[in-house]
Amino acid sequence: MKWIRKHTGASTVIAVFAALLILVLVSYQTFGESNILGRSAGRIVGIVQTPLAGVGRFIDARFSVYLNSGDIARENEQLKARVDELERELNEARLSGADLADLEKLSEALNYADLGNDYNLVTADVIGLDNSNGFNIFTINVGSQNGVSNDSVVIDSNGLIGRVMAVNESSAKVISIIDETNKVGFQVFRNLEWLGMLNGDGDGKLTGYMLDETAAVREGDRLITSEVGGFYPAGITIGKVTSVEWNHDSPLKTVRVEPAVYFKSIRKVTVLI
């Protein structure tokens, strides 16, 4: 006690430090879920952020053409390549009507339903995104009053983004699949019987393994979610296989996957509720 009275400054610092570490531990135990204080803070921040996010989008839309001409040229090249690829895929699809019928049968066998039939879809704007740390965690302008709850699945036009990790009345915090330690079940679009599990590789991409080591998955294969793992509904695009390797330590075929979504520039998302 004497020491504390003599060193009030140091004692305060130690006490605050200890309190913060306890807060981190509690948050770790509840996986970042907000308490009533956090939800209130999130609600206030959400109210302020929404109009400013609109201003940001306006500025971005007006000036990004001038500021990012190099990026646009690069994106143009990528889009041209993508158009070529899609044309090839379209031709292949036309030529393999029989294969398509088989796929449809498989889809039915897997209870493969249109998301719109099983879920209500809520569109949301991204109102907060922090690019100053390595995480892809962002805030959207829909919350529990729109029917969003913890673990609601979030997608965009390109594919699977992640899930809601904390929610308040008017906004929600979303964590991407690449920041997750939770596994995502997948199936290979070319053959829906080939199943596997994926998770973030810690390097901005995804890595995983095939459940069946005889599955002839190859580079370029498109992966979609499966109901294996039970977290995400089946049929949402995850990404494309960039490499396939044998893991010599276990009898598993390892795949590396480039996510279909570019997480750093997400503007609009859809929440499945």
Binding site: L20, S27, L52, S64, N131, N133, T181, D201, G202, D203
Partner: protein
């Protein structure tokens, strides 16, 4: 600086950081202006404003963008305390000491932040974390420089007065409350 202005400044920085800074990202990295403000407040002011605002806004930041709540607060606090210690040996008016303190604060902040997150078992590799650091540090230092140029004018009066003979300690009497 009056506390209410400091609160306003941090609030504006918080909202801008969350909603608009991603539009000026370089290689997908945006500056952390909240951290830059924490460091500059710790560097320029004798009161522990940097520590207090670092903790409060760190918790708020984690509520919005963190995987776990409290980690940014701990890292901000560590950075602010380190800068407060370092500044005792440096001239507050000059830019170079501000940048040196800023660099130390940024590195310590990032080290504590990622160190604590690694302890929680996040999947991110050290390679991924280190790859973004050069751009992040350079971008943050740019904002440390900007904040230093803006805020130092409000801290020490008479710094351009040729007849003023005192050192910084004597000038303390002129620190604006």
């Amino acid at each position: 600086m009056k506390t209410r202005y400091a609160i306003l400044l941090f609030t504006v920085a918080f909202v801008i950081q969350a909603s608009m800074l991603r539009y000026i990202a370089v290689y997908d990295v945006s500056p952390n202006i909240l951290l830059c403000l924490v460091i500059m407040f710790a560097f320029l002011y004798d009161e522990p404003l940097g520590v207090v605002f670092g903790v409060v806004f760190g918790i708020l930041w984690d509520t919005e963008f963190g995987l776990y709540i409290g980690i940014s607060a701990v890292s901000h606090m560590s950075a602010a305390l380190a800068v407060m210690k370092i500044k005792q040996y440096l001239n507050h008016e000059l830019l170079l000491p501000a940048l040196v303190s800023g660099l130390a604060g940024i590195i310590l902040n990032n080290g504590v932040y990622w160190g604590l997150y690694k302890l929680t078992g996040i999947p991110h590799t050290f390679g991924y974390i280190l790859r973004m650091q050069p751009v992040l540090i350079a971008y943050n230092l740019l904002f440390v420089m900007i904040f230093h140029l803006i805020l130092r004018r409000g801290v020490i009066r008479h710094r351009k007065d040729r007849d003023y003979k005192g050192g910084f300690k004597e000038a303390k009497g002129f620190i604006m409350k």
